[in-house]
Structures are given as C-alpha cells and as structure tokens.
Symmetry: D2
C-alpha cells in the first residue's frame, strides 16, 4: 500500500510519518513517497532523511523516498495526502497583511486572506487530480490543504477523484469537550455541523445523554488551535447560542477585537502568524537535520497542527479497513442542510468506510448560525467559480459576499493589490 504526500517538504511531515508508524499494525503502508515543488527540495530532503530514521528506529519496513516529478510519484498510490501551500509562507504573509492595510481581517483561511489562498490553491489541486486520473484513478485524496472546505468542494465538483476534506479543529474540540467533562475522549460522541472553519458542536453525547450544556458550562480560556488566542466573550456567547464554537467563529463574532489584535501584531516586531511560523519552521528544520533525532520532536507542537496526523491516519485506516466508525470530515451536502446546494461541501460527522464518508442523517444547523453558514457558502461558491474561470467580476462578488468585508471600496482595493502581489501564482487571472 503506497502513501503519497504532496507538500512533503512541509514541517508537518514527521507528524504524519509518526501516524503511519503508530497505525502500522492495522494499516500496512509499504511505501511513502514525498512530493514537492523544486523550491522545496532542501526541506523535502531533510524530511525524507528524518522519516527514514524514524521508520528504522520503529523497526518497520517501509520505503521512503521523495521526488519532484509529481506524476511519477503519484503512480499506483492508494492514498494521496495534500498538505501543500502554494507560494509558501511568503504568500501567507501577503494574505495576512494586505487586507489589514484596508482595515480588514487578514487571515489564512477566513476573509480575503483565505479567499486568495483559495484562488492560488484550487487550480493546483485540479492539476494534481488530473495527474491522479491518469496514474492512480482509484486512489483516495485526503485533502488537508486550506481552505479545506472550498478546495475539497472544487475537487469534488470538477474532477472524478474520490476526495475527503479534513481538518484538525473538530478533533481538538472533541478533546476539549472531553477535557471539560473530565471523561475519556473515547467515551464521548460529539456532533458537529457547519462548514470547514465555520462549524459548531451542537451535541456532546456521553453515556447516551447529550451533555452539551455541561460542556458549555465549563469555561476554558485555552483555544483549541494555537493560532487563535481565545477572548473572554467566546465561551459566554457559545453558552447563549447553545453550542460549542469552532475557534474560527471568533473572527466573525469578535471581529473588531480580532482586527485590533491582528493589526497590533502586524505592526509589531514579532509580525503576523506567517512571520512567526517562519521562525518556528526554521527551528524545526534545524532540529530535523540532527542525525541523532529519531522521533517527532516536542517543538513541533508549537507549529499549530495538533492531532493532524491522528485525524489523517485514522481516516485512512477507516477507509482501508471499512470500519464504519464516525469521524468529522468535509463531504458533499446531498440534502443534509436543506438551505445549501446538494453538491456543496459541508463539515460534519460521517460514517467512514471503504466507500468513503456518509453524513449522519439527523443533523440540523442551529438557527443562530444558519444565516452565517449560508452567507459564507455563497462566498465559497463564487470563490470556486472565480478561481477556475480567472474571473475578476466573480472575485469581487465573492469578496462582497464574505462577511468580513464591509465595503465595496475595500473589496476593490484588496482585490487589485492582491491580484498584483500574488500574480505569479494566479496565471488564470492573466494580465
């Protein structure tokens, strides 16, 4: 069984390799191929060497190699994981900073930052799928690339590849809920509904009883993701809404404060998240190069992708072994949320098996967040069309549908500045 990782030069790769090692009894991976673009070659070399040491240390017999020839690397894959970042952290810094110069939230996956990440990423994913259609048409694509919901939707609508989107937020919220109640995470059955980075946990079953109220009654000042510092209002508001929030909802419900914080950060010497991650990454790769290092280092926790490999390998394991267990993933709606189109991608609990992910039937979106979900999905639909068609008009309308953009003047300015700043990665938008 061959596992291919596109974006293999990412600092997350050791996390993934660890997952493969931990699941080796049930998941007979025989070959790992890491793929990246030429500018990532130095990093992918380091990752490959480190992965070899990790696997040897675990006493397993899995071959590991890297290639810059994507199609060659993909041939015969059973599972393909995409964890790439088009344009790297340099592009992310632009996604974060340019909107801020207009007084608009700049963030990797929400707001205009996420929009431009989508514009850059969608065409690349479609190209990857084209390769897959040729050389591994039956492989599963596990997409981690953000904005994961939008990217997964584009793949499912426009290619024949079997694709499931994945994110580490819900698994972390699940752990948070268990921690708040002080029960083992396995004893809980938490239910999520919404879109990627825009979901809520509206039920938290434990021993057959829905204990969501008890979960919400406990305050937890720690955010479930490293990159979003929780503010005081969120737990209180969550209680009033009756559901636990994805930390990304803080951008929508506490927008002014987030904008103030982000602006202050971008003005400071420390810089934005991209600037910070760049320093963490440099440290990590220095660490990975250490020949005596044979296991995932502690420092990786700082990077923000907690439980990333747990989510990914668990998903692959359940597909491969047709487990029929329930996991939270990004799949097509097919009527689950009646206010949304059938073919759009939503995020919720699904039964995972050899045919993929099947949404649980009894889900409903709380009235209090339904408007936001529909509004954001309208933005996402236009974003996918704009990305594929390279259409400026649709790009503007997508931005105008984003709830974090409040003025057409900002939208036009941001659009112009970002199309220029990212033009290298936006060939479809031509001149």
């Amino acid at each position: 069984m061959k596992l291919v990782v596109i974006g293999g030069g990412s600092s997350y790769t050791p996390e993934l390799v660890e997952g493969v090692i931990l699941h080796s009894r049930t998941l007979p991976v025989t070959e790992i191929v890491l793929i990246d673009v030429p500018m990532g070659e130095k990093k992918i070399q380091i990752n490959t060497d480190f992965a070899k040491r990790m696997i040897a240390h675990a006493g397993l017999d899995i071959s590991v190699r890297y290639t810059l020839d994507r199609k060659e690397g993909l041939a015969g894959a059973a599972f393909v994981i995409t964890q790439l970042r088009v344009g790297g952290l340099g592009a992310r810094a632009k996604d974060e900073r340019i909107p801020l110069t207009y007084g608009v939230i700049g963030q990797e996956t929400t707001g205009p930052g996420g929009f431009f990440k989508a514009l850059r990423t969608i065409p690349v994913l479609l190209d990857i799928c084209k390769d897959m259609e040729e050389v591994c048409p039956d492989a599963w694509l596990i997409n981690f690339t953000n904005p994961a919901g939008i990217v997964t939707e584009a793949v499912l609508k426009h290619t024949g590849i079997k694709c499931i989107g994945l994110c580490n937020v819900s698994i972390n919220m699940w752990h948070d809920a268990a921690g708040r109640l002080g029960v083992p995470v396995e004893d809980m059955d938490c239910r999520f509904i919404g879109l990627n980075h825009l979901s809520v946990m509206n039920h938290a079953y434990c021993g057959g009883e829905d204990r969501i109220g008890d979960v919400l009654a406990v305050s937890n000042s720690e955010s479930v993701v490293k990159n979003i510092e929780k503010n005081d209002e969120m737990d209180i508001l969550a209680r009033e809404m009756g559901c636990m929030f994805s930390p990304y909802l803080q951008y929508f419900y506490s927008e002014k404060e987030m904008l103030r914080k982000e602006t202050k950060e971008a003005l400071s010497i420390e810089g934005t998240r991209a600037n910070q991650v760049k320093r963490v990454e440099a440290e990590l790769f220095k660490c990975y190069q250490n020949e005596s290092l044979k296991e995932k280092p502690e420092a990786l926790a700082k990077r923000g992708g907690a439980r990333y490999s747990e989510a990914a390998i668990k998903l692959i394991d359940s597909i491969y072994n047709d487990r029929k267990d329930v996991q939270v993933v990004d799949v097509q709606n097919h009527g689950t949320i009646p206010e949304l189109p059938d073919d759009c991608v939503i995020e919720m609990n699904c039964v995972i098996g050899k045919n993929g992910a099947e949404p649980l039937k009894d889900a409903e979106v709380p009235a209090e967040i339904l408007g936001l979900v529909v509004q954001v999905k309208a933005y996402e639909l236009l974003t996918i069309e704009a990305a594929i068609e390279g259409d400026r008009r649709k790009a503007l309308l997508a931005l105008m549908n984003n709830p974090l953009v409040h003025d057409v003047k900002d939208a036009r300015g941001i659009l112009e500045d970002m199309l220029e700043a990212h033009k290298e990665y936006l060939p479809r938008f031509g001149q």
Copy 2:
C-alpha cells in the same frame, strides 16, 4: 367603505388623503377615521381639519374624523392603514445615535436601530390586530410601519388578520428604471425579489424584452429615497451584480462610508435624520394649519415618503376591485424562495386581488445576494421572537445575526443602552 389610518397624526396623512381623492372614481371611500395616541392629538387635529378642507375642495362627500379610542375607531373598517411610529422621532433619534456611539450603523430600519424599532412596534401591532379581530375581523391591514417586512411577518404569524406589507421603495425604483430608459412607467414590468429594504430589481421588461442591462448601463446619481444619499460605487456594483439595488443595500455594500457619513452627521449641528425630520415636520404642520391651504403642499416632498399614497391606494383599489394586477408587496414566502421558511415574509411582485397578494411563480434570488437575504432573515426571525417574548438572550442573538453588527461586545453594549433608553416602550423586557 370605511378607511382607518392608525398613526393619523403623521405628517404623511395629507399624502394619503390625496390618494383617496385621486382614486375616488374607482374606490368609493365614504369615511376616513384617523387614530392616534394622546401625545399626538394636536397633530391629528391639524390633519383632520386639513383633510376636511382637501376633500371639500375636491367636491367629494367623504366624512373625516379622528379619535384617540382605537377600538371604537376601528369598528366596521374595510381597510386599516398603519403608519405609526412608537416613541415618535425622539425614539428614532435614539435608534440612530446609540449604535453610533459603538461605531455601528444607526438607522431607522436596518442595523440595531431597525431592530429596536421592531421591538417597540411589534407588540403594538399585535394589540391593534387584537382589536381588529374583535371589531373588524374581515378588514385588510395595509402595513406601512417600519421595519415593514418584520412587522408584517409578526402579524401574519401571530394573528388572524389579513395583512399586506407595503413600502414605497420599489415603486420609486420602478420609476427610476423607467426614467433611465426614457419610457413611460406603465410600459415597464419590473421584477423585484428579496426582503423589505433588502430587495433588488432583477428584471425590467419593456415591450416583452428584459432590458435590465440597459437600465443598469445608465448611471443616476440621485437616490430613489430622500434619506439615503447615493454614493458613487453603487451603480457600478449594481452593474457587476446584474440587478438594480434597493438604496438600503448601500448600508451593507458601502458600510464603512455610510458609517463615516452618519457619524459626521450625528456630530454636526444639523444632526441625524430624526433631528432633520423633526424640523421638516414642524414646518409641515405649520403649513397644514394654514386655513387657505387645500391641497398637499410641495414641502411634503422633502419628507421622504414619495409615492407613498400612490402605493397604498393602488393596493387597496386592486384588492377592492379584484384587479389581478401586479404590485410589489410584502407577503409570506410559501416556497417562493426555497432557502427561506414558508411562513416568513418576503418582498416581491404579486398578483393583487380580492384574496390578497399571490407571489409570481418564476422568481429567483440572484446568487450574489442570496447569502445576505438568508442572513438578514435569520436576524428577522430572532427579532420577532425576541420582541414577542421579551427575551434578552434572543435579542442578543438577533443582533449577532445582523450583518451590520460585527462584535459581541458592541452587541451587548448596544442592547443594554437601548433597552434602558427605550424602556418606556418595551414593557415586555421588564426589569
């Protein structure tokens, strides 16, 4: 045929009386009763006297009187028009000013201002309907009271009264479209879809052809409503969206600029729209008292309710005479917009006849505004529930669903300040 006007002390009343006079050949009104609250008695006296002079001058035989006893006045009515303002212009000034102190749009019908107008108004309308159920259960309620869509929805959901909501915006947009093309307004068949104060004209048929593109190609710097000065971006954006905008969309699509303008106005000596209207009203009532005045004065045009009477009387005429013509009104959805609940109120073209308003079948909401429509409807649903139940939690969640509120801290502050400022008119929110 008895016509009752609740809020008869409004400066708009002469406009309405003129409408009755102009339609006298087809609409056999025999009695007009003006109703108001005691604090409006001086104004309603002036209006009654002026109305008598207008009717005498027109050589008609219609009795006019006023009463402060609502139930008595309503008895036996065929049509009831509600044009009241709970708390008067003083409350409106608070609606406009309190949100601004938090950096949030303060406006009579959108944003937190419209929200509080709804909280004050819905219980009063429900009381009126209770009276009507007793003394004129078959009368039609033509509701002009803003926020007209929300108020109409509350009436239709919670009372047995036949009610149609009405607004002068679409009729003005229709005239604007005709003016842009240079054709008579009767030659056009304009189609509207959306919610009250959140609608678009997405078709403009003329001679069987949809000329919406031609309409949009013409720029018109004049706004269709007096209280919203159009900014340069709106016609351009409308062209990109492919539909003509209700001027109220400017609050959503040009929010930052509107906030800047509103703030500057509220800081200035001239003050907000409420302050300005107060001065215009004083002038109007001075004018109405002039015994020699026997027709609607020019100055009324400044007041902002252009074509208000045209819309109201045309609607009554079509119901009374079972005309089956098409008018733009606020009615229950019943599946017309599938993303919205059946019993919510939308604004669109309907066939008007003795059984009321029947939505045209082929309407669809443009994808570019659908998200906003669903989001605002979510806000409206929670607003109605909060108003009826006097529920602070729902009031907060309603505000959080309003697209002009961006931060829970603002929402809490505005809610607290406004509940206090308007407490006299919000008995359901108790202490």
Copy 3:
C-alpha cells in the same frame, strides 16, 4: 459706586448679585446696571426682577436696572464686568461640534473651539472698550469672558482701558488643595503660574512651609470644574510633574481619551456641554421667574461657575479698598516669564490694590510645562492678530500653532467650516 454687567442676561447674574450683597459692608455699590443685546432681553428682564427681589430681601438700597443701550448703561461706571457670550449657546455648540467632525477636540476655550470664540469675542470687547473710553474711561474692566487670557491680552494691547482678566479655576484649585490637606482655605498661600486655562499650582504654602508634595499625595477624583470629568491619570501625572494641574491640562495630557469622550457625548442623545447647558439654563430661568424666590437657587451650582462671584467681588473689593492682598488673575507678563513677550497676558498670583494687579516677583514656570506654555502663547498671539485683522492666513497659522491641531488638512477644513458657520459674528473676515 456704579457696577455695570455686560452680558447681564447670563444665568450667572444672580451669583454676582449675591456677591455684591455679601460684600455690601465693604463695597458700597449703589447702582447695578445690566446690559445685553436685544436677543437676550427676555432673560435680562428676568434677571433684573430677580436681582431686585434678592436685594430687597437683603434689606439693601441698591438700584438695579437693565438697558440694551450699551453706551448709556456704561456712563459713569466704576467697575464693568464682562460675562457675555457672542452668539450664545448656539455658537458654542458649533465650536464644540465642528472640530469633532475632523477628529479634533471641540471645546469652549481650548483648541479650535476656543479659537473661534476668541475670533468672535475680541472685536466685541474692543468695541465695549471704545464705549468705555468715551463714557467711563477710568472704570476698571473685570473680564470674565472666555477665552479670558486671550481676550484680556487683546484689550490691554489695543485699548487704553484698565483691565484685569479673571477665572474661577485657580480659586477652585486653591479650595481643592486646602480640602486635600484638611486645613482652612485662608491658612493656605497657593501659587499659580502659566496662562489662563493652562496654569499649574507649583507651591502650596501652609504655616510657612511648602506643602505642595502633601497636596499632590492626596488623590481627588473630583474635578475642580463641573464641565471636565477628571480621568484617573491626572493626579498621578501631576505628582510626577510636581505641581497641581488646571483641569484644562487634561485636554493636552489626556487628549485621546478626552476626544473619545467628547465624541461619544456629541453622538449621544444628551449631546455636548452646550446642549446640556441649554437645558440647565432653561431650568434656571424658569426658577428665576418664581416670584417667591429671593435667594440664589441651589440649581445654579450645576451650571459650572462655582465661586465665580467670590472671585469677581473679591477682586473689585481689593481694588476699591486698595487691600494689597494676593489674588490669582490675568495680567501682562512684564518679564515675569522671560521666555514670553512682555506685553502678553499670563495668569498668576498678583498683589491687588488701587493701581490694579502687580505680579509676585519670584515666580518660575516648571521646565515640564514651559514648552506647552510658550507654544500656546504663540497660538494666542496669532489668534489676537487674526481676530483684529480678519486675516485668514494668520487664522490658519494660529490653528497650526494650537497643540490640539495635528494636521494642516484638519486646520484648513475646520477653518473653512467655522468661518462659514459663524460668519454672522465674524464681520472682519468679510467674504
């Protein structure tokens, strides 16, 4: 001995009358003449009647009358008090609001508001002095009209009238200092230095010892003037500077917070200080009309001019009786502060006698506020020249020298708007 009050229609007049009554044993006033402009006639009538009742109630024999004929009223005066407001509270509201629309402090005596008050007031004071030169050339002019320092400087530079400027701030600070130490106010000898509304108390002698440190060590959250709410930082900063602040320094040392507060107030229903004072005044005059009222009412305290009459009558008493006591007044510099021109007006302790006010010799300005004092005086010099010459260029340069104006674009905008708004009272600026 004839006492003339220009601006006799002010709501402060009863305060002054009370002062005359309290000092009647040492100050043999025989006649009080109140003077005002025609638009203030109703108020001056009320004040005259009330003054008569107060004097009768006190069993004194002082004649009181009013006139709108200024020169006639001034004839033979021994002391003239000016407490007028050119343009009334309406003009004050503009002074407060117009700068705020540019994000600049709008205040009656500092910033662009005080600047425009000076432009309106200086020509009127010069006209009064011209009348005095004719009909009472030896009378003393006690000037209370704000900005008192600037106006007094203009009079002393450009007329032959003996004039002393006066303000109730230092007397209130003196009381505050005594209160903090818990000693009788008479036991303290407090020393002030600076400009009007820009002074500090840098010594507080008590029993021969300078106890300024002890005074500053006590915090007092109450401001010495009604119209400026003290913020937390002021006492702490005063301690660091080593002197007690005039509350008006808060506009300079806590500018951002003051701007935020003022803006919020101007946006609110309550409105700016002018709006509030208008309501207090209406209440006061209603009260003054009460025939049974024979003493200064409690409500007057709300008005903000605490100890105004105490300061005024004490000053007149010391001149009249050649007392040689020390009071804090506005006089020409004559080398006291070497960094300032000789003929400019400063505020400090002076020996008061029949020849007027003689500055104490040993004064020095603390290094920490010297820069601000020189900067503000530069602004004041240009203001006087601009007012007298009606010179727009100098007006702009004056504004640019005001420490509360930070950008030439704001200065130009404010200048243009305010010249227009106040043009009725700025004939020297022509068209």
Copy 4:
C-alpha cells in the same frame, strides 16, 4: 593627519572615503581608521578593503585600517566622525514599530522613536568622549549620529571634547532652493534657523537680494530626503509661513497623514524604513565586495544620505584650513535664540574656522515656529537628563513634552514596551 570613523562598518563609509579623495588637495589626510563593535566586523572588513581599492584607484597615499579596539584606534586622531547606530537596524525597526502599536508616529529621529535612539546613543557617545579625552583630547568630534542635535548637546554639556553636530538636510535644502531658482548653488546664501530636524530656511539671498519668496513660489514635489515622501500640503503651508521647511516638519504639520502612511507601510509586506534599508544595505555590501568596484556605486544614492560626505569633509576642511566660511551646523545657542537656554544646541548658519563654529548674529526664529522650537527643546532637555541619569520619571516627562505624543496613557505604554525591547542597550535604566 589622522581621521577616525566610529561606526566604520556603516554602508555610508564609502561616501566618506570619496569625500576624502575629492578634498585630497586641500585636506592632507594620511591615515583613516575605521572603528566598530564586534557585531559589525564583517561589514567593516568589507568597507576597509573597498576603501583601499578606492584610494589606490585615486592614486593617493592614505593608509586605511580598521580596529575593534576603540581607544587604540582613536589615539592621536585629528578628526573623529561618529556615524554609529546603537543596536543597528534591528533597534531602529523597534523605534519605528512600537509607537505605531499605540497609534503614535514611529520615526528614527522624531517622536518616541528618536527619543529611544537618544537614550541608547547618548551614553555611548559620552564613553567615546571619555576615550578621546584620554588619547586625543584636541581632536574635533564631528557628530553625525542621530538625533544629532540632542547627542551633540549632551556631548557639549557633559564632556570637554570639541564637538560640532552635522546633518545633510540643510545642505540638501540649499540645493533645492538653488534648483528652484535655477541658479548655481554657490551663488546662494541660504539662512537656516531652528533645531536639528526642526529647522526652516527663512532667507535665501542671491545677488544680495532675499529671494525666499521666489523660492517658495516654486513647488517641488520631491522631498530633499529619501525617507520622507512629501505631501501636497507642505509647499503651500511653507508659503503661508514664509519659510522653507525641513522635511521633518511634515511629521508635525501633517501628523495624521504621516501616521496613516507609516501605519500602512508597517502593515505591508515592504515594512518600515528600517526593513527597507536592511534590504538596501544587504545589496550595497554585496556590491562593495565586488573586487572590481573601485568607486562609490550608484546604488548608494538609494540609502538616503545624499551629500553626507560633502557636508562632513567641507566642515573638516574649513576647520583645518581656518576658512571662515559659512556652513549650517549644530552648535550651542549662547543667546542666539533668546527664548532658549544658552547651553542648548541649535542648528543654524555659522562661521567655520580653526576655533570651530560661531553662529551668525542676526538670526531670528519666525513667530510661527517659535512655539514648536521651544516645545521640542523642552523635550530634548529632559531627554538628555533621562538618558544620563537613567531616570524613568524624566523619561516619561520627556515623552509628554514631545509634540507627537498626545496622551499620557500612550506615553506610559510606549515607555514600558520600549524600555523592555531595548533593555540590552539601556543599562542605565537598570531593572
């Protein structure tokens, strides 16, 4: 004749070497010693090698070497030039960014940025002077280190070293004036008055006639310094004031716009001036390492120090050769500006000879800028005391006297953040 350059690792050094070469006929330099701190060793090596190539190329016989041992390098010097930057560009970035997080101008020499540069630099300069007092007590110190006025004042007040402060702004303004009139720069006699980075040219003699009016009548959109983009208002305002502005006055007269620009820049990918200069420097040193490069490269012009060497070498030449010509430098006041202390440093035209710089007698500060000059000097005095004493209270009061700081809360926050950020370079502020 030995010339010592402290901060010899600066990218400006080749500019200076070029100056020595161009003046070699009149200025017999025999030895150049470059001195720097250990962290600058790589750069100083590059500069030394490049300087050797330049001198060899010019066919001159001047020895060049570098040392990290300051005292040894200084021994026997005739002239010492200080062009160091304590903390390097990293510290400059903090000076620029930290104030911006409080909404306050962050700039290398004005505002809180310049304040902290002074705190870091003054003790280092005093240490250098202590070394000079030992090993070259008769040498002239030509101080280019910013804030040049403050640093020079500290040296002159607290050491026995002969020191003249120098800046390239006035020489550039002089060229600008000549350019505007279209006359050779030598034909003009321009007069400057004020403080370093806060001066104006108030006379521009040409053929015996003061043509300052003609100079001002010409607009020149180009700024005389690279790091300040001129805005439209400056020439117009200068005309109204009647004198040509140092570009640094733009921070005071157009503060809001500068703050907006600076904030936008700091939020952007390009970053602040320090970020930009870092990139230019890297490029320059790459260029300097090119063995075939034997003359100052074009690229150095981007760096911002135009005419730096012209000013420096001309000054040394006039001292050495006792020329008695007139140059604009920073010297002690000694009564020239009567509103300022005698021992403070001002910037103006002086006669330069073997005894140093003697201010021209007939200088006067225009009334329109006098207030600002006195205010800024008050700030400078407190800054020097705070730097030498490591006194936090004085540091706060210095900031409160800076015209770009408007609120004590900002001052406290900035002070705390910057003392922490720069603590490595602020030993006198201890813990």
